[in-house]
Amino acid sequence: AQTVTQSQPEMSVQEAETVTLSCTYDTSESDYYLFWYKQPPSRQMILVIRQEAYKQQNATENRFSVNFQKAAKSFSLKISDSQLGDAAMYFCAYRRLGGNKLVFGAGTILRVKS
Protein backbone atom coordinates (compact mmCIF):
# COMPACT_ATOMS: atom_id res chain seq x y z
CA ALA A 1 0.00 0.00 0.00
CA GLN A 2 1.13 3.49 -0.75
CA THR A 3 2.07 5.72 2.16
CA VAL A 4 2.89 9.41 2.42
CA THR A 5 5.07 10.78 5.20
CA GLN A 6 5.43 14.38 6.28
CA SER A 7 8.14 14.37 8.91
CA GLN A 8 7.70 17.99 10.06
CA PRO A 9 4.61 18.42 12.24
CA GLU A 10 5.23 22.15 12.44
CA MET A 11 7.42 24.75 10.72
CA SER A 12 7.95 28.48 11.17
CA VAL A 13 9.17 31.09 8.71
CA GLN A 14 9.74 34.80 8.84
CA GLU A 15 7.66 36.90 6.49
CA ALA A 16 9.42 37.37 3.11
CA GLU A 17 11.73 34.41 3.77
CA THR A 18 11.75 31.01 2.08
CA VAL A 19 10.63 27.75 3.66
CA THR A 20 10.68 24.16 2.46
CA LEU A 21 8.19 21.51 3.57
CA SER A 22 9.22 17.89 3.25
CA CYS A 23 7.25 14.93 1.91
CA THR A 24 8.32 11.39 1.14
CA TYR A 25 6.19 8.60 -0.22
CA ASP A 26 6.37 4.90 -0.76
CA THR A 27 5.07 3.26 -3.91
CA SER A 28 5.97 0.53 -6.36
CA GLU A 29 4.21 2.34 -9.20
CA SER A 30 6.13 4.23 -11.88
CA ASP A 31 3.35 6.59 -12.93
CA TYR A 32 1.48 8.67 -10.40
CA TYR A 33 0.50 12.16 -9.34
CA LEU A 34 1.64 14.15 -6.36
CA PHE A 35 -0.15 17.12 -4.86
CA TRP A 36 0.27 19.76 -2.20
CA TYR A 37 -2.93 21.03 -0.59
CA LYS A 38 -3.22 24.03 1.72
CA GLN A 39 -5.77 24.11 4.54
CA PRO A 40 -6.08 27.54 6.17
CA PRO A 41 -8.03 28.08 9.39
CA SER A 42 -11.17 28.41 7.27
CA ARG A 43 -10.85 24.63 6.79
CA GLN A 44 -11.00 24.78 2.97
CA MET A 45 -8.75 22.37 1.09
CA ILE A 46 -6.99 24.37 -1.61
CA LEU A 47 -4.82 22.79 -4.28
CA VAL A 48 -1.44 24.51 -4.29
CA ILE A 49 0.53 22.57 -6.85
CA ARG A 50 0.62 19.21 -8.61
CA GLN A 51 3.30 17.10 -10.22
CA GLU A 52 2.99 14.23 -12.67
CA ALA A 53 5.66 11.61 -12.09
CA TYR A 54 6.51 11.18 -15.77
CA LYS A 55 7.48 14.86 -15.99
CA GLN A 56 11.06 15.48 -14.94
CA GLN A 57 10.59 19.23 -14.75
CA ASN A 58 9.61 20.48 -11.32
CA ALA A 59 6.21 22.17 -11.15
CA THR A 60 5.99 25.87 -10.28
CA GLU A 61 3.03 28.07 -9.40
CA ASN A 62 4.06 31.65 -8.69
CA ARG A 63 5.82 31.60 -5.27
CA PHE A 64 5.33 27.86 -4.86
CA SER A 65 7.63 25.29 -6.39
CA VAL A 66 8.45 21.66 -5.78
CA ASN A 67 11.62 19.62 -5.72
CA PHE A 68 10.57 16.26 -7.12
CA GLN A 69 13.17 13.52 -6.68
CA LYS A 70 11.59 10.39 -8.15
CA ALA A 71 14.38 7.98 -7.30
CA ALA A 72 14.41 9.18 -3.70
CA LYS A 73 10.59 9.30 -3.60
CA SER A 74 10.74 12.82 -2.29
CA PHE A 75 8.40 15.72 -3.07
CA SER A 76 9.18 18.88 -1.13
CA LEU A 77 7.35 22.19 -1.39
CA LYS A 78 9.26 25.46 -1.42
CA ILE A 79 7.44 28.68 -0.59
CA SER A 80 9.35 31.81 -1.55
CA ASP A 81 8.72 35.32 -0.20
CA SER A 82 6.44 33.92 2.50
CA GLN A 83 3.34 35.92 3.31
CA LEU A 84 1.08 35.97 6.34
CA GLY A 85 -1.65 34.41 4.22
CA ASP A 86 0.54 31.34 3.68
CA ALA A 87 0.00 30.30 7.30
CA ALA A 88 -1.95 27.05 7.13
CA MET A 89 -1.76 23.28 7.37
CA TYR A 90 -0.12 21.80 4.28
CA PHE A 91 -0.85 18.28 3.11
CA CYS A 92 1.12 16.23 0.66
CA ALA A 93 -0.93 13.66 -1.28
CA TYR A 94 -0.36 10.84 -3.76
CA ARG A 95 -2.52 9.17 -6.39
CA ARG A 96 -1.37 6.45 -8.74
CA LEU A 97 -2.08 6.77 -12.45
CA GLY A 98 -5.52 5.35 -13.12
CA GLY A 99 -6.23 5.16 -9.42
CA ASN A 100 -9.25 6.57 -7.67
CA LYS A 101 -7.88 7.39 -4.27
CA LEU A 102 -5.76 10.13 -2.78
CA VAL A 103 -3.42 9.10 0.01
CA PHE A 104 -2.59 11.96 2.35
CA GLY A 105 0.28 12.66 4.68
CA ALA A 106 -0.43 13.78 8.24
CA GLY A 107 0.20 17.43 7.42
CA THR A 108 2.62 20.19 8.39
CA ILE A 109 1.47 23.32 10.19
CA LEU A 110 3.20 26.38 8.76
CA ARG A 111 3.40 29.50 10.91
CA VAL A 112 4.46 32.80 9.37
CA LYS A 113 5.99 35.42 11.66
CA SER A 114 5.73 39.13 10.94
Partner: protein, 112 residues
Protein backbone atom coordinates in the same frame (compact mmCIF):
# COMPACT_ATOMS: atom_id res chain seq x y z
CA UNK B 1 -20.63 28.29 -9.65
CA UNK B 2 -20.99 26.52 -6.28
CA UNK B 3 -18.48 23.68 -6.83
CA UNK B 4 -18.77 21.14 -4.00
CA UNK B 5 -21.34 21.95 -1.31
CA UNK B 6 -21.63 20.10 1.99
CA UNK B 7 -24.67 20.18 4.24
CA UNK B 8 -24.71 20.75 7.19
CA UNK B 9 -21.54 22.62 8.14
CA UNK B 10 -21.75 21.75 11.80
CA UNK B 11 -23.75 19.26 13.85
CA UNK B 12 -23.82 17.83 17.35
CA UNK B 13 -25.29 14.36 17.88
CA UNK B 14 -25.86 12.10 20.83
CA UNK B 15 -24.45 8.59 20.85
CA UNK B 16 -26.77 6.24 18.98
CA UNK B 17 -28.46 8.89 16.87
CA UNK B 18 -28.42 8.66 13.10
CA UNK B 19 -27.82 11.31 10.50
CA UNK B 20 -26.98 11.86 6.86
CA UNK B 21 -24.40 14.24 5.44
CA UNK B 22 -25.14 15.56 1.98
CA UNK B 23 -22.57 16.38 -0.66
CA UNK B 24 -23.65 18.06 -3.89
CA UNK B 25 -21.47 19.03 -6.86
CA UNK B 26 -22.48 21.00 -9.92
CA UNK B 27 -19.43 20.20 -12.08
CA UNK B 28 -20.74 16.97 -13.61
CA UNK B 29 -17.91 15.02 -11.99
CA UNK B 30 -17.93 11.25 -12.17
CA UNK B 31 -15.95 10.56 -9.02
CA UNK B 32 -16.97 11.53 -5.52
CA UNK B 33 -15.33 10.86 -2.16
CA UNK B 34 -15.94 11.09 1.55
CA UNK B 35 -12.98 11.65 3.92
CA UNK B 36 -12.62 12.20 7.60
CA UNK B 37 -9.95 14.41 9.10
CA UNK B 38 -8.64 13.77 12.59
CA UNK B 39 -5.80 15.58 14.39
CA UNK B 40 -2.36 14.27 13.43
CA UNK B 41 -3.71 11.84 10.85
CA UNK B 42 -4.43 13.82 7.71
CA UNK B 43 -7.47 12.87 5.64
CA UNK B 44 -8.57 9.27 5.45
CA UNK B 45 -10.90 7.91 2.80
CA UNK B 46 -14.20 6.50 4.08
CA UNK B 47 -16.07 5.59 0.88
CA UNK B 48 -15.99 6.69 -2.71
CA UNK B 49 -18.00 6.43 -5.90
CA UNK B 50 -16.87 6.23 -9.52
CA UNK B 51 -20.30 6.92 -10.95
CA UNK B 52 -24.02 7.09 -10.36
CA UNK B 53 -25.27 3.97 -8.61
CA UNK B 54 -21.79 2.73 -7.60
CA UNK B 55 -19.97 2.92 -4.29
CA UNK B 56 -16.82 1.38 -2.85
CA UNK B 57 -15.10 1.15 0.52
CA UNK B 58 -12.11 3.25 1.38
CA UNK B 59 -9.63 3.02 4.21
CA UNK B 60 -12.00 3.50 7.16
CA UNK B 61 -15.53 2.43 6.08
CA UNK B 62 -16.83 0.83 9.28
CA UNK B 63 -19.84 2.55 10.83
CA UNK B 64 -20.69 4.47 7.65
CA UNK B 65 -22.88 3.87 4.64
CA UNK B 66 -23.12 5.82 1.41
CA UNK B 67 -25.40 6.19 -1.56
CA UNK B 68 -25.06 7.79 -4.99
CA UNK B 69 -28.54 7.74 -6.48
CA UNK B 70 -27.88 10.85 -8.56
CA UNK B 71 -24.61 11.80 -10.22
CA UNK B 72 -24.47 15.15 -8.48
CA UNK B 73 -25.12 13.89 -4.94
CA UNK B 74 -23.17 11.64 -2.59
CA UNK B 75 -24.71 10.89 0.80
CA UNK B 76 -22.82 9.72 3.88
CA UNK B 77 -24.88 8.06 6.60
CA UNK B 78 -24.17 7.26 10.21
CA UNK B 79 -26.72 4.72 11.39
CA UNK B 80 -25.75 4.74 15.07
CA UNK B 81 -23.30 7.51 15.88
CA UNK B 82 -20.39 6.78 18.21
CA UNK B 83 -17.99 9.24 19.92
CA UNK B 84 -15.16 7.80 17.78
CA UNK B 85 -16.91 9.31 14.76
CA UNK B 86 -16.36 12.83 16.05
CA UNK B 87 -14.39 14.38 13.23
CA UNK B 88 -14.38 16.83 10.36
CA UNK B 89 -15.83 15.27 7.23
CA UNK B 90 -14.86 16.35 3.75
CA UNK B 91 -16.49 15.55 0.46
CA UNK B 92 -14.55 15.81 -2.79
CA UNK B 93 -15.20 15.23 -6.46
CA UNK B 94 -13.24 15.06 -9.66
CA UNK B 95 -13.63 14.39 -13.33
CA UNK B 96 -12.07 11.34 -14.98
CA UNK B 97 -8.46 11.56 -16.00
CA UNK B 98 -5.59 13.59 -14.64
CA UNK B 99 -7.56 16.26 -12.85
CA UNK B 100 -7.24 16.82 -9.10
CA UNK B 101 -10.03 16.55 -6.56
CA UNK B 102 -12.14 19.55 -5.61
CA UNK B 103 -13.11 19.70 -1.95
CA UNK B 104 -16.12 20.97 -0.07
CA UNK B 105 -15.69 23.17 2.99
CA UNK B 106 -16.15 20.34 5.47
CA UNK B 107 -18.67 19.35 8.13
CA UNK B 108 -17.66 19.39 11.77
CA UNK B 109 -19.49 16.57 13.54
CA UNK B 110 -19.39 16.13 17.30
CA UNK B 111 -20.87 13.07 18.97
CA UNK B 112 -21.45 13.24 22.70
Amino acid sequence: NAGVTQTPKFRVLKTGQSMTLLCAQDMNHEYMYWYRQDPGMGLRLIHYSVGEGTTAKGEVPDGYNVSRLKKQNFLLGLESAAPSQTSVYFCASRIQGRQPQHFGDGTRLSIL
